[in-house]
Amino acid sequence: MVAAVACEKVEKQYTKGKEIVEVLAGIDLSIEHGEFLALMGPSGSGKTTLLNLIGGLDQPSAGSIFVSGKNLTEMKAKALAKWRSENVGFVFQFYNLLPVLTAQRNVELPLLLTNLSRKQRQKNAATALEIVGLQDRAKHKPSELSGGQQQRVAIARAIVADPSLLVCDEPTGDLDRETADQILGLLQTLNKDHGKTIIMVTHDPRAADRAEHILYMDKGKLVSGSGVAV
């Protein structure tokens, strides 16, 4: 069976003026289906950059990235956008909900790109909100929700199109201990009961403990850990 995610000699450079910044220096990585992986490391080590590449938000400078056998590095922007909408869910530190839309409509957003009927879209969004335990807040705007609730809405939005992969960049970075624990519990449920492969960047060792494996990054390289670093 092909890996959920496979990175081969992935490099990423940015040019700042004349200077070339080496952000990822040859990443080799394989993640199995149904894994819950935490990615840790100092600030600026390239965690977000790697996550964005795996999620198909950007292209590496060199190397290849396969997700469920699909080579992302060969895809054009438009095809990649469509692929993202069907295969990846994103959760960010600052929730990134659209403030003008209700929770329900925020969750429906990814479904606007599908052929689902309006009724079906509403039904699926309601189901996703139910999974994160917010069915009674469907009509609220983000500004009327707490941070933890907003993050739940963001998670509902990430899973509503039923992708197999969730990428989460410091999903609890802006939450207090207790709320963070609830969100982590939710991610664990999605991993165990719904079979989602999850990659989570975090600075918090207690959060990382909830994952099955932890990978460490430093200066654009994977350094050690119990993940299947090749």
Partner: protein, 385 residues
């Protein structure tokens, strides 16, 4: 279409800002509708003028009168095929604000030279020419003042005194006239010149202008010169021009409406583009992270382009619709109030359509720059900011 909800919701991110912008767009288009309608009324007045008609007025002032004796001399010029005349009477119907022009005319020659006018009922022209106190009026005037055939219409003259020292005149309405069923831009009240001429205590045997029909329209310029040459050295020198030219001069005296309209609207729309454009650019900056999220979720660059452009267009079109609606509501009242100044004007669907097209174009102009920068936004950079 599924995205319409998103575009619509975005407009109400800052309700106060949106409402203020909508209002300014709406007012601009209200102005557009009203000015267009007024200047269209002017243009149509110019269009209908038959080119083969010449108008002869006193050389130095249109207030001066011309002697009736000129008629035969003008008719003797080759190429002049018919002649009629109108005379400024002034006069008040009930109140000074009921303004419309009242002309004593020669019934048969007047309607002979104005074939574009249709009289009803069928015996109207016969009665008008035979009954001394008969009058015919523009169909719009009859409607406005609720006159019907057989009504006696009292007019108080403010210029002319009657033989018996009074200023009261009474006319019996015997018919109405229209141009293809429509009221004229300068609706007229016409009565018998002979009755007028016999009744006035002064100013007899004089008219304000002669109107000539030519059977050789291509000689119009030459004939005009011949007429003026005829009276050059008489006590009553004349100035002759085509009816078009005459109307144009008249319109020019009131200001070149078309030009003024264009100038005002250009200034207004320029301001709108600047203001709304600035608002849109500002709104876009606030939303960079959101647009990045939409792209993250799989919305393509093209879709994002359309969403942002759609917002600008929607803002302008909704504003324009409000303005257009306002125009249809205010227009009729304003037209009635200003009819003495401009003639009556009407807000027509074509003008509304023009406004709508205009708003689409302005929406695109305003939305294009923000839409392009939204399209170019790269996700990772936007998410970092």
């Amino acid at each position: 279409m599924k995205l319409f909800g998103l575009v619509w919701a975005n407009l109400f991110r800052k309700p106060t800002r949106t409402i203020l912008t909508l209002l300014s767009v709406a007012i601009a288009f209200l102005l557009f509708i009203l000015l267009r309608s007024i200047s269209a009324a002017f243009d149509s007045g110019l269009d209908v003028s038959a080119t083969e008609r010449l108008v002869v007025v006193a050389k130095y002032s249109q207030i001066d009168r011309l002697p009736f004796s000129q008629k035969q001399q003008i008719l003797s010029i080759e190429g002049v095929d018919g002649i009629t005349h109108t005379t400024w009477f002034g006069g008040i119907y009930q109140e000074p604000k009921n303004f419309f022009a009242k002309f004593p005319v020669d019934p048969l020659s007047y309607f002979d030279l104005h074939p574009e006018l249709t009289l009803v009922p069928s015996n109207a022209l016969q009665r008008f020419s035979q009954e001394r106190t008969a009058a015919v009026v523009d169909i719009g005037l009859a409607e406005e003042y609720g006159w019907s055939i057989g009504d006696v219409i009292p007019i108080i003259s403010d210029i002319y005194l009657r033989n018996d020292g009074s200023r009261a005149w009474e006319f019996e309405l015997v018919g109405t006239f229209s141009e293809n069923g429509e009221s004229q831009n300068f609706p007229l009240f016409l009565f018998h010149y002979e009755y007028f001429n016999e009744s006035v205590a002064f100013g007899r045997d004089q008219v304000s202008n002669w109107q000539l029909r030519l059977n050789q329209p291509d000689r119009a310029d030459e004939i005009a010169q011949l007429v003026d040459a005829l009276f050059e050295n008489s006590p009553d020198p004349t100035k002759t021009a085509s009816e078009d030219e005459f109307n144009r001069q008249f319109a020019r005296q009131l200001g070149d409406m078309g030009f003024i309209t264009t100038m005002i609207m250009s200034a207004v729309f320029f301001t709108i583009v600047l203001l709304t454009g600035n608002t849109m650019a500002q709104a876009l900056r606030e939303r960079i992270p959101e647009l990045a999220v939409l792209k993250t979720l799989g919305f393509t660059d093209q879709t994002i382009f359309l969403v942002v452009l759609g917002e600008a267009v929607l803002l302008c079109v909704v504003g324009a619709l409000l303005g257009i609606a306002g125009g249809f509501v205010i227009g009729p009242g304003l037209s009635a109030g200003l009819s003495g100044v401009f003639g009556s004007f009407e807000v027509v669907p074509v003008t509304a359509l023009e406004a709508l097209v205009c708003s689409l174009v302005i929406g695109v102009v305003i939305g294009l720059a923000p839409a392009i920068s939204a399209q170019r936004l790269t996700i990772v950079d936007a998410l970092r900011s």
